[in-house]
């Protein structure tokens, strides 16, 4: 059997696959030994197959495996969460809501102010130590010149002062009140 160049080009891929019969293979081998052009096509095609077949040619984006694993975990999670899982989640949610309610009642809910002219104490850090006097209506920063009745003062946390109905001094607490006004929710009063 004798094969020409055109036939070689048609069969070269099958030749590389080992998918040609014995007669054709022998004829092709004989042709390659004589024809440099077809030999070049064979060597080039074999090179292409070898290079692209290398594992290094498969390039995945950085973090691909991690993101895939996360996605699989997320998808597997709902079915894995049994009754106990839901109970834990529900308890956690209840604790968050409960905690929020407790916090609102003790710190964030405004008690009746001692003076109708007072400013609510939005923005004052609840743990800040402030000075109050027995007969006064305001709480102050230590050293404020407007502390009333200095003979009967106590130093307590702002949180406690608020609970007792004291309002912040608009002078020494000015910076907190302004900050509180700008960040306060419109309905927070």
């Amino acid at each position: 059997m004798v094969v020409n160049c055109e036939r070689i080009w048609q069969e070269i891929s099958n030749y590389l696959e080992g998918d040609v019969d014995e007669n054709l293979r022998t004829a092709m081998d004989a042709h390659f030994a004589e024809c440099n052009q077809c030999k070049s096509v064979l060597e080039g095609s074999r090179n292409v197959v070898q290079l692209y077949g290398d594992e290094r040619m498969i390039d995945v984006p950085l973090g691909f495996s991690y993101r895939l694993q996360r996605r699989l975990e997320e998808s597997a999670q709902p079915s894995r969460r049994g009754f106990l899982g839901w109970m834990v989640a529900a308890t956690a949610a209840a604790m968050v809501v409960g905690g929020f309610e407790i916090a609102r009642s003790s710190v964030f809910r405004s008690p009746a102010l001692r003076s109708e002219h007072s400013h609510p104490a939005r923005g004052v850090p609840p743990d800040m130590m402030v000075v109050v006097s027995t007969d006064g209506k305001l709480f102050h920063a230590s050293g404020c010149p407007f502390i009333h009745d200095k003979a009967h003062v106590r130093t307590i946390a702002a949180r406690e002062a608020l609970k007792e109905g004291y309002a912040p001094c608009v002078r020494c607490m000015k910076k907190y009140l302004q900050a509180g006004l700008s960040s306060a929710e419109p309905t927070a009063s």
């Binding site: 070269i12 692209y52 290094r56």
Partner: protein, 218 residues
């Protein structure tokens, strides 16, 4: 005597794979990642061959893995798990491509096989390119660029057969085409790539790499 070993082994041997599949079906979901880990790069590459876009390929790869997870009970052991996985990926990628073309006024036309036989353009001598050249990023990029320039129907076949090492029959099954079409497209893809990368071409890509005149990148 074949020139190339076409019976490449699975990264996981089939017994291990079978037992992992059983464990996942029995509710041990964590075993699924172990099952697909050897194939994740190949799944990505298959998705990329069709979507041609990093972000879409990653999304398609993830979706395909999730589908495989949800439908693992439907997997039948008569085909290889990797082939089944690649088949899901190909379907997912094609669906994505169709969705993305849905807004276009012109309907997407499936590419047709070129008529006539492919005639090589370049006959310069090829010296063997050692695989170490693949350590060089610019070489890998140029190979990827050449692959990207192929028509889609050729690229799909080439990626599945020559990069994923699926058999001719598996490639045909994954793409839903005949084995004769796979062979024709594979021949054309290989010859086109050879021409694109041929050193004798003078260089579309070798000159862009700024190699000294007359030298080859390998």
């Amino acid at each position: 005597m074949p020139e190339q070993d076409v019976s490449l082994k699975n990264p996981l041997d089939e017994t291990n794979e079978g037992s992992l599949i059983r464990r996942v079906c029995d509710g041990e979901h964590d075993a699924f990642y172990e099952l697909i880990r050897p194939y994740e790069r190949r799944v990505y590459a298959a998705a990329f061959a069709i979507t041609h876009n990093d972000a879409d390929a990653e999304d398609v790869a993830q979706e395909a893995m999730l589908k495989a997870f949800k439908n693992l009970r439907q997997f039948r052991a008569e085909s290889r798990f990797s082939t089944w996985l690649i088949q899901i990926t190909v379907n997912e990628a094609r669906m994505r491509r169709r969705r993305e073309h849905a807004h276009l006024v012109e309907p997407m036309v499936e590419q047709q096989d070129a008529e006539g036989n492919y005639v090589p353009r370049d006959f310069a001598d090829w010296r063997e390119i050692p695989s170490e050249t693949l350590e060089r990023r610019e070489i890998r990029e140029k190979l990827a660029e050449a692959l990207a320039s192929l028509g889609e129907i050729y690229r799909e076949v080439f990626v599945l057969r020559d990069m994923q090492h699926l058999s001719i029959e598996e490639t045909a099954k994954a793409l839903g085409i005949s084995t004769a079409s796979v062979k024709t497209r594979l021949l054309r893809a290989r010859l086109m790539l050879r021409d694109l990368l041929s050193p004798g071409l003078g260089g579309a890509w070798s000159t862009r790499l700024n190699f000294a005149k007359g030298t080859k990148p390998w």
